[in-house]
Amino acid sequence: MSAVLDAHGRPAHDAHDHAHGPTPGWRRWVYATNHKDIGTMYLLFSFTMLMIGGVLALCIRAELFKPGLQFFNPELFNQFTTMHGLIMVFGAIMPAFVGFANWMIPLQIGASDMAFARMNNFSFWLLIPAALLLVSSFFMPGGAPAAGWTLYAPLTLQMGPAMDAGIFAMHIMGASSIMGAINIIVTVLNMRAPGMTLMKMPLFAWTWLITAYLLIAVMPVLAGAITMTLTDRHFGTSFFNPAGGGDPVMYQHIFWFFGHPEVYIMILPAFGIISAIIPAFARKKLFGYTSMVYATGSIAILSFIVWAHHMYTTGMPVTGQLFFMYATMLIAVPTGVKIFNWVATMWRGSMTFETPMLFAVGFLFVFSMGGFTGLILSMAPVDLQLQDTYYVVAHFHYVLVAGSLFAMFAGYYYWGPKWTGVMYSETRGRIHFWGSLIFFNITFFPMHFLGLAGMPRRYADYPMQFADFNEIASIGAFGFGFMQVYFFLATVLPMMRGRGEPAPAKPWEGAEGLEWEVPSPAPHHTFETPPKLDETATRVVG
């Protein structure tokens, strides 16, 4: 990120050509129209939110370390849980992937920038008011929203003013996401360099294209759901109020119509990153490119017809139960195709295990465990036992932390040298990987047992029989948090400051793609004239 943080150390640009260097000072960031600068801001923002959400998680884990209330009262505990979920989902994971998209998609497809540079910056800056509203809600009368990140009615109707701040924050984040998604769609569809056909495009661009479609299809639906919550709260409508002919479960249907595609919004770009890294370190072409594209598309389409697997316990008719069970299970098929393709890519490759590859392999292994627990949850009778227990918490942290977050770490180590112009320290990367992997499993694996044993989630206190596994989980959580601080201090910060070995244009022997055709750090402006590509659209020939 030094490529962009420090304007001095760069190979001097033509001093007269004002348009070519970044504007000096704060204006460069606030007024940014450069996709790399905006990408950097997205990434820093989301890392900050990861830290805030992480501290909230540590508060949760500290309280759950022992049975009995030690630090917080249950009201505050519920606020922590809710805000942890909201901040991680909307503040950390989603913006981080947009940051990756901003940095990498124009580079990967040979475009000069994102299609709408000013709107791009708007998407980013909208996150700031949203985050301020969310975080400041802790200081509003009655405290932050405490109805869970799913914001189920009618509990939300009982919340204090902070709920409204939260609702508006989500509206703003939704607007940001929709604009970001439109920008990405247009960039991918309309700004590819000549010769970069859709089916030659790197999978990261593909997965993001499909993710962007999911975003524009479901963010407005979420906006609708929370708007109804807002009018129920303040303007006397009865959407979720049975006394007036409404239905609290209707909220859940609308929410999960958004919510399930949302979880794939948080994983598909991760699939894209992994699909870039594994071939690079196996020094072998990605196996089954075409089927990867189709699988991603199938996951996206299926994601629209499975939402009620979050609602088995609300009491659906038996046909609904069966339909959603079968549809959900189907998703294992295209996801499986992806896993198999990655393993086949590794098969008979010539592998090395630098940190990006370590995280990618870690991702495969641990994400699959999360996928399998998802499959177990999708079976309605079993889900009736596990719904709203720590088994679900274990499931989604396996796919979100060891899935999305690990993929982002992999992506950071893989592309970070391109962004900052310096290599990370391999030793520190390894420490970060092994530490994260081990502590992650210490934290979340015991939660499966807790869930099977029936410990409900969103509980500030629990029967004493659950104590031991909670203790282990809490210890793991602090270890995991510590590893992330270590990552920031030992890897990110030095790289941002430009400390480290200078990175060559292509630090990875087996890597392919246009991003490696430009120097490291990537110049402020790249591909201002559409590059001429070779047959495979992975090299610039003139």
Binding site: P67, G68, Q70, P74, N78, G142, A146, Y152, P154, L155, Q158, N241, P248, V249, A282, K284, F287, G288, Y289, S291, T313, T314, G315, V318, L322, M325, V333, V337, F340, V343, A344, R348, G349, S350, M351, F353, S368, F372, L375, I376, M379, A380, P381, L384, Q385, Q387, D388, F449, L452, A453, P456, Y459, D461, P463, M464, Q465, A467, D468, E471, G510
Partner: protein, 370 residues
């Protein structure tokens, strides 16, 4: 590891076991079916997992550059790809098929021997025996306040910590019990792991589920849907009795109810109302408004509240009957007229509120009729 190692806590039969790693030992056919489905799934997933990652780790170990591996050239094979689409498809189809029978069985609530309506309140459960032996019995069931205090103090103890209620739901063994759930304020969820039952209780709607316990004993569960601050403190305790014991329990309960029934027409003395009101307050109101009546967070204080001090009794009675602030203060209409009158009198004459007013049950009866 402290808790189990020093024997501070033992497994609770029918409830959680120390370091329990699996589903609860089933006490119904459904729970047993669910458990075997879970085992089946687990085995299939494990096999696939071992298969896939066996290949991957083999490749990681053998196909390393440091071992001189040269990358192969293949990157496509329609045949393999079709195979690994179809095989998983067949596997999941079989899984779904295996589960279908249980789904259907779980949903079949017909021909119940006993029907009980379960109502979720913030934060306790109400039980009403609607049909079958025991018809007409109704009571509330809430967490033992002593345990709630232990929790606040951070000093838990007891094998049934957070699971002990004042009034368990009682059912006969071997009978099909249909549970109808609903809620008064927000969504709750009624679950008993050993029965394989979990059913959300949704305000304004009824939902149902069923179980047939195959052995006597005590079984525990907890509210499983976030319902506000005391979500962790509304346990469920079901006591399964033999037919004879159940009949005895019904007789005892009926007699008890007849004794306790208040005549709403009775005129009470101020002191009697205060004494009764104190009990009602402690059982229902103190969780939010605190024993000192000062409230906290979004909860309004009662001490010094204009509505409590109002000379017009109706003002406060209405709040109790209908709730306010979108049910942040829920409606307490399920309390009896006597209980409401008592607690209103109590709050009007406790702490700094020395109004000297007395509210009689008949006033509540009139307010209700309006």
């Amino acid at each position: 590891m402290a808790w189990a190692a020093d024997g501070a806590v033992q497994s609770l039969p029918g409830g959680p076991a120390v370091r329990q790693m699996d589903l609860a030992p089933p006490a119904t056919q459904i729970a047993a079916d669910v458990q075997s489905l879970h085992y089946g799934l687990l085995v299939v997933c494990l096999l696939i997992f071992i298969g896939v990652f066996g290949v991957m780790f083999y490749s990681i170990l053998k196909h390393r550059k440091s071992l001189g591996a040269k990358p192969a050239n293949f990157h496509e094979s329609v045949r393999v790809e079709i195979a690994w689409t179809i095989v998983p498809f067949i596997i999941v189809a079989c899984m779904g098929f295996a589960a279908t029978k249980t789904v259907v069985a779980q949903k079949d609530t017909s021909n119940a021997d006993l029907t009980i309506k379960v109502t979720g309140y913030q934060w306790k459960w109400g039980y009403e025996y609607l049909k079958g032996p025991g018809e007409g019995i109704q009571f509330l069931s809430m967490l033992d306040p002593a345990q709630r205090q232990m929790s606040d103090a951070g000093k838990p103890s007891g094998d049934d910590y957070l699971l002990k209620v004042d009034h368990p739901m009682v059912v006969p063994v071997g009978q099909k019990v249909r549970i109808i759930t609903t809620a008064n304020d927000v969504i709750h969820s009624w679950m008993i792991p050993a029965f394989g039952v979990k059913q959300d209780a949704i305000p304004g709607f009824v939902r149902d589920t069923w179980f047939r316990a195959d052995r006597t004993g005590d079984f525990y569960g907890q509210c499983a849907e976030l319902c506000g601050k005391e979500h962790a403190y509304m346990p469920i305790h079901v006591r399964v009795l033999s037919a004879d014991d159940y009949a005895q329990w019904v007789a005892g309960e009926k007699k008890h109810m007849a004794d306790a029934a208040d005549d709403p027409k009775k005129v009470w003395t101020h002191d009697a109302l205060m004494a009764r009101g104190q009990q009602v307050y402690a059982a229902n109101c103190a969780v939010c408004h605190r024993p000192d009546g000062k409230g906290g967070g979004p909860v309004k204080p009662l001490d010094g509240s204009a509505k409590v001090l109002d000379a017009d009794h109706l003002v406060q009675i209405q709040v109790l009957l209908h709730g306010q602030n979108n049910n942040a203060m829920p409606s307490w209409k399920q309390l009896s007229d006597t209980e409401i009158a008592a607690v209103v009198t109590f709050t009007k004459n406790n702490w700094g509120n020395q109004t000297g007013q007395t509210v009689q049950p008949s006033e509540v009866t009139t307010a209700r009729a309006q």
